[in-house]
């Protein structure tokens, strides 16, 4: 259809001009739309970020990690026995690896100087492989170390030791509490992953053989066992097998088994709550803003009755007038939408900082923000535009 573009172009110029004139009114209308769109942006962005977070989770550790914990009020005060935890791999084919842990806490001293304070984790070699920890020097502790006083230091602890002037850390002596340990390995720095079933805090920790941990930890019970299910095994089957193994070995034990899949599902549920909240805030402010836009447009139509009549006399059809006012309201909401996108991204960034998720700008969220803004412009601009198109040109020409 020839000639639509010039009309649209002229309409758009006209719209920008008339909006620029009514600055205060325009600004008020924009605020509502801006808040509405920013909620939409934050909602979609956070959803995308959570998905991305889950994907990275999967890549980093896989979703085959299970966390086996004793319930605090368990009738068996001794908790999981070391033998049972280690025997799990042999006895339950669904479990590929198992890593029990005894968790203690202590201050670390080296050459008479404090080099850190943090977790003392009594573990086996499986703990390093399940949690994908790697070494920059030496070796990790293993069951073969039995109760010998060997330790592996985390990256932050190692840095503190280096500042004390020791070049080679492996072979040095580290005081944990009052007990002397020989360093056998140094870990690479390892960023903490918050969505994991296990909080490792490797950088600030010292790892000792599980057999030696009993002397340091206040509560030498095996606090948890992390297990990795065998490839191709459904995690639900693995959970059932683990439960039946412990039921046979320690009938009094009450176990709590958490899977990475469940955690991801939990995170997604949390995200959905977030999304629902943002979604309702967003839709309410969109409606409020939209009514504001509608009001602005109705006033604008009333103020420009004569202009409309003149345009009609010069040959504008009803649909030309209608599109002029629709374009005006869409430009208005798109401007609000652009501001809303900035605000929404800023809010998303703040939430990411707060939760420790990695911030990213998703094209999806920007597109949905602009789409929503344009749709709001069309929706709330429709009635005023229709009213403008239906004005009687004869009356408009005579009005003073």
């Amino acid at each position: 259809m020839p000639g639509i573009l010039p009309i649209l172009g002229a309409n758009a110029r006209q719209a920008v001009d008339s909006l620029a004139r009514a600055r205060l009114r325009t600004a008020l209308g924009l605020v509502g739309i801006m808040i509405g769109i920013s909620s939409v942006i934050a909602m979609v962005s956070l959803g995308e970020i959570a998905k991305e977070q889950a994907r990275r989770q999967f890549e980093a550790l896989g979703t085959d990690v299970l966390l086996v914990r004793t319930v605090a009020a368990s009738a068996a005060p001794q908790g999981i026995s070391l033998a049972d935890a280690i025997g799990l791999v042999e006895a339950v084919p669904a479990v590929a690896e198992a890593a029990p842990r005894i968790l203690g806490h202590g201050e670390f001293r080296h050459a008479g100087r404090k080099v850190g304070q943090g977790r003392v984790q009594g573990v086996t070699a499986a703990f390093a492989s399940i949690n994908r920890m790697s070494l920059q020097a030496g070796r990790f502790v293993s069951l073969l170390d039995a109760d010998r006083h060997f330790c592996v230091v985390g990256a932050t602890v190692a840095d503190a030791m280096r500042q004390g002037g020791s070049g080679r850390i492996v072979g040095e002596t580290l005081e944990i509490g009052d007990i002397l340990f020989t360093v056998v390995g140094v870990l690479d720095p390892r960023p903490e992953s918050y969505a994991l079933p296990v909080q490792v805090e490797a950088d600030e920790s010292v790892f000792v053989p599980i057999g030696a941990a009993g002397r340091i930890a206040d509560n030498p019970a095996i606090e948890l066992a992390v297990a990795r299910s065998s490839a191709g095994v459904d995690y639900r089957a693995a959970v059932a097998d683990i439960r039946s193994w412990f039921r046979r070995r320690a009938p009094d034990l009450q176990l709590d088994i958490i899977t990475a899949k469940e955690l991801i599902a939990q995170m997604e549920a949390q995200m959905q709550t977030f999304a629902l909240l943002l979604g309702s805030v967003g839709s309410i402010s969109l409606v409020v803003g939209g009514i504001g836009i509608m009001n602005i447009m109705l006033v604008s139509v009333a103020e420009r009755r004569r202009e409309i009549a003149i345009r009609r006399a010069l040959g504008a059809r009803r649909r030309d007038i209608q599109s002029q006012f629709l374009i005006e309201s869409v430009i208005l909401t798109l401007a609000g939408g652009l501001l809303g996108i900035l605000l929404g991204l800023a809010a998303t960034w703040a939430i990411c900082r707060f939760t420790g998720w990695e911030f990213l700008i998703s094209g999806m969220s920007v597109a949905s923000g602009l789409g929503t803004a344009a749709a709001a412009g069309l929706f709330f601009g429709f009635q005023p535009a229709r009213q403008a198109a239906r004005l009687d040109p004869i009356a408009g020409l005579q009005a003073e």
């Binding site: 020839p2 010039p6 001009d17 006399a313 010069l314 059809r317 004869i394 020409l397």
Partner: protein, 244 residues
């Protein structure tokens, strides 16, 4: 598309409005025949149906009954869109209050009819400048209406009415808001354009001086139209009351 020529006929046109239970008949059987290139004035007191007649001739309004034939085509039954298109192609309006769009420059104002025809902005501006040149406003294409005098505004409005090459120029009290000298110049311009471009000109006026310069003079009274004698007008024109 054949070029419009500007011949129009009204055959027994009646127009009545209903306000509540009261029906008022504003036009009571108007017959009018205007040939292409005619220069016609219509005079009449307030409330005589002048404006209604002009709205019908200008395709802004439709007769209640009767026929409106434009260049041989009956347009009385056309819908709103068709009337808009026809208005755009066929009719140029000049109003007493100029009715320029205040935010647009002279050239942009003149472009408006072309925009609704789908002419590109560049071409439309070119044509607008040319016609503004023709009406003696070539120096003021970029001025806004509030920077122009009354006479200048009316020249821009005439340029706007003519830019789309309409067959019919419809002027409602074109000199009503102008002082005598400016009114005289404006009338001169309309006469020139009528002679030069062959556009049919229909002027509705209170002013016998204006009416006297037209080749055909009509009076409307009580919703009925009469053509006056082609003799120089005397008493008929001078009795017309001047609108406040």
């Amino acid at each position: 598309m054949t070029a419009p020529r500007g011949a129009l006929r009204l055959i027994d046109v009646r127009k009545s409005y209903r306000v509540g239970p009261v029906t008022t008949e504003v036009l009571r059987g108007v017959d009018l025949e205007i040939g292409a290139g005619d220069l016609v004035s219509i005079m009449g007191p307030s409330g005589s149906g002048k404006t209604t007649l002009m709205n019908i001739v200008g395709l802004l309004d439709r007769p209640s009954t009767g026929r409106h034939v434009l260049d041989g085509r009956d347009v009385s039954g056309l819908g709103d869109d068709a009337l808009s298109r026809l208005r755009n192609a066929h009719v140029g309006f000049v109003f007493q209050a100029f009715h320029l769009l205040p935010r647009l420059t002279a050239a942009e104002n003149v472009c408006v009819p072309l925009v609704y025809r789908g002419t590109g902005r560049r071409e439309a501006l070119g044509r607008a400048r040319a016609i503004l040149e023709r009406v003696g406003m070539g120096e003021r294409v970029a001025h806004r209406p509030d920077q122009l005098s009354g006479g200048q505004k009316q020249r821009v409005a005439i340029a706007r009415a003519l830019v789309g090459m309409p067959a019919l120029l419809l002027a409602d009290e074109p000199t009503g808001a102008l002082d005598t000298d400016t009114a005289d110049e404006t009338m001169g311009l309309l006469l020139e354009l009528n002679a030069e471009q062959g556009v049919t000109v229909l002027i509705i006026t209170h002013d016998p001086v204006v009416a006297r310069r037209c080749t055909r003079r009509m009076r409307i009274e009580g919703g009925q139209l009469h053509e006056e004698d082609p003799r120089p007008p005397g008493s008929a024109g001078s009795t017309a009351p001047r609108r406040a």
